[in-house]
Amino acid sequence: MYLTTNPIDVAALLNEARPGDGAVCVFVGVVRNESGGRETVAIDYEAYGAMAESEMARIAGALSRDWPGVRVRIQHRVGRLAVGEASVAVLATAPHRDAAFAACRAAIDRIKKTVPIWKKEISPDGTGEWVDATL
């Protein structure tokens, strides 16, 4: 399971390193208090659940094949998140740091590009706006 409605437990992810792994790179995306100059108090994340799961599995699998010895774990949260909460965590383990950094970076870049998840930024007055909703 890549999607979760519960807070992401990054520490639990960190326990995944294996004895041959010398390098762990973790990326955590966190809800910010502003976006494009507009104050934000929360973000609603919504996913096309089944497809998001398979897209994240595809991304993790492709990276493990591209970099020998690399394993990638992804967790993406959905629902309403307050400022400071983690929306996504990517963990890449590898024998050495080059591969760990590269796989972690590639994973988050691909997640943002292809995984069907959307976010609505909530303003202090309670109104919300979908990000990039205008084509």
Partner: protein, 81 residues
Amino acid sequence: MQVRVLYFASFRDAVGREDETRQVAPGSRVRQLWQALAADVPHFSRFRAMPPAAVNREYASAETELHEGDEVAFLPPVAGG
């Protein structure tokens, strides 16, 4: 034949529902389903290009042929992460 159409995020808000079952002609392609939706939904009629589409939870091209019972979604620009 029938396909199930899902709407998410801003598309769901525009259509006013999460999903619907639509009748399409046998042999229809994704593009033809989009054109039918664009004719019905004012928000969609303003789109110059078809948005990304998924058939049965995988990205699909405009030329992908639809089959009875397919789950089809047109996707607003994704914003995960």
